[in-house]
Symmetry: C2
Subunit: 382 residues, 2 copies
């Protein structure tokens, strides 16, 4: 298997650019040291909790190496992510395979690579893991509301507490270790209280399992830690304090080991998407700003305007006005912000740079392979 | 140019598979001969109209070569698409560069490659083309409602008839040829009547320009011709007849040359996405079917359930029931059909094949670069 970096080069190829200074736009400027700082900050506010970086947010190999070197563990969901972590220096026992619904061959590949901890959320998937990765430890994912988060949760994953107890009891019968419970409160979660209900629910599952003679030990608190997008979010230590108090209140003397799976919370603030203005057009009463970066070149999280990046325009200042922000492809769906316009300088013009801040997560990895002939978003390490 | 298979290997790398018969899933099975038949059918129902295949729908090089060999012209929107067409044997003068808002360097690259026909929709973009591709011909894109189409149109492109007249008059002053008008009625347009209003509007622009001593000659009728998705669409000849009658009624003796830009209408029915069932899970009252193909591996058009593919399950038959259809990544947004469930055999089980029919357009090209470690959708020629 070629390395991720080689793969990326293969995919993106050379590009032309209108940007000043010879640097191509669009690009993601990724500050790996900043991501490591965010990782360190999480270890500070969540002492004793294992930090498993969610590789899906940004799988850049230099980032993975830096995080592995600083002691990070990893959250993976596919064989390719497993391989990327091992190639970056992680050990397989530091991985949690958190995809609750998996191809059988993918479970087998993970087990062969030494992964020993899998998330499940159904009897069927538990049986699949028991048959394909016998003797592994499993966490059962509980369903949550996702309320308070910017990126929507569906009912795609998770079961009730009663089902969770049954799944983990089954797991024990099938020779798996019923290690504990997992949940996820939704990405870019702005409310630390969102952890309360699922921690209480998890404690009920743990208690029921203990009553049945089992020994759950591990609670996966998921991700959801915010990046600095538009709109306020509490300080990180508020999340740590809230989670700590919920754990104490719900588990008392039976406090389990804990882990979290931050993706955006580690790499979000470490990246900036740098785009160039292709055109500024007045359409009736509406000013449209067209960028060389859009929904199909990395800005998928703007769908339904869910994630609102902070914007800056270093070369254009002065009075601002509302405008719609659109991407470069000829697809009508390639519009980032329309229902709630953004405010940008009235002086903004073709060729100016526009920076989308805190865009290190879910951008390069969400790029299409090159829809409409527009290359995937490349990464430049800064 | 490397062969298709090599290209696919380059992009996706090796994969494991749960599919029977040794073929990987997910995959797009692309029948190039079927696409050529659809092209031929369009030439039949639109006699005398130039057919410019919209490369964005599926840029597979073998498809482009086959279409070029059969006489197809092309609709491009970026330097990469231009290059792909020329490499496939098209001549630059058979291309229309239909992206109304373009990077200046991209206009220059197209002009250098010999492209001489550009779509614009604003004074700014007209000036850009005049400065960067002097002497070119331009079409001015008019805004339409998009009503009747499955894939939504925004107000991203197009101007009013008055603005169109002004833009084309300006174009003439700037040394460009004011060649005519373009519009687009929205992709997967189920109502042939959708062409009436924009053809009438175009005729008004042509008439006003003639009154000013100009000689517009070309009308770009856009795309929108449907593939066989769920739900009825009129037969293709109904589109041809409707367009013909609107042209006669609106233009009378001043009938212009015409062109269309079909993407889905050429390649949609020529492709089938073949996926495997990863799991079938009962979650409360709802049956969830998880595939190894999803929103991030090509099925972007299922967003908001806009495009509904016809589904078949060759290995599972019998009584059907409703279910939600979800993709393989651990992203909660990776759900194709939930609000309006699909109906699939109750016997459907892990490992079974599920085929999404008429999925040749906007699938491989919409794949992410490999989000969550899941490879882009590969193409297998059949």
């Amino acid at each position: 298997m070629t390395s991720t970096l080689e793969q990326r080069r293969t995919v993106t190829g050379p590009k032309t650019s209108d940007a000043p200074g010879g640097l191509v736009t669009p690009r993601l400027e990724l500050d790996v040291a900043r991501a490591v700082e965010s990782y360190d900050a999480l270890t500070q506010v969540l002492p004793g909790t294992g930090i498993h970086y969610a590789v899906k947010a940004n799988p850049h190999p230099v980032l993975l190496r830096a995080l592995a070197a600083t002691g990070s563990r990893f959250d993976v969901a596919s064989p390719a992510e497993t391989e990327a972590c091992l190639a970056a220096g992680a050990v397989a026992t530091d991985l949690v395979y958190s995809n609750p619904v998996k191809r059988r061959s993918d479970v087998a590949a993970a087990a062969a690579a030494g992964v020993g901890l899998f998330v499940v959320d159904s009897p069927e998937e538990t049986r699949k893991v028991a048959e394909t990765a016998p003797g592994s430890a499993v966490l059962c994912r509980l369903v949550t509301s996702g309320e308070g988060s910017d990126w929507p949760l569906s009912r795609k994953y998770g079961c009730s507490t009663d089902q969770g107890v049954a799944v983990l009891r089954d797991a024990a019968r099938l020779g798996l270790e019923p290690a504990g419970v997992a949940f996820h409160v939704g990405s870019q979660q702005r409310d630390p209280l969102a952890w309360r209900a699922p921690i209480e629910a998890s404690a009920r599952v743990f208690s029921a399992l203990r009553d049945q003679g089992l020994h759950p030990r591990l609670l996966d608190l998921g991700g959801g830690f915010p990046a600095r997008h538009e709109g306020a979010a509490p300080a990180l230590h508020r999340y740590g304090a809230a989670i700590e108090s919920f754990l104490t209140r719900s588990f008392g003397g039976y406090r389990p080991e804990t882990l979290v799976e931050p993706g955006r919370g580690v790499v979000g603030d470490a990246g900036t998407v740098v785009a160039s203005v292709v055109a500024v057009l007045q359409r009736g009463d509406v000013r449209w700003v067209y960028l060389d970066c859009g929904v199909f070149t990395g800005l998928v999280e703007t769908l339904e305007e869910a994630i609102r990046y902070r914007l800056s325009t270093p070369g254009a200042t002065g009075r601002t006005g509302p405008c719609v922000l659109a991407g470069p492809t000829c697809d009508s769906a390639d519009v980032m912000y329309q229902h709630t316009p953004v405010h940008l300088p009235l002086a903004l013009a073709e060729g100016d740079e526009l920076r989308l801040e805190s865009a290190g997560a879910y951008t390069t990895c969400y790029s299409t392979v090159g829809f409409n002939g527009f290359d995937p978003l490349p990464t430049v390490l800064v």
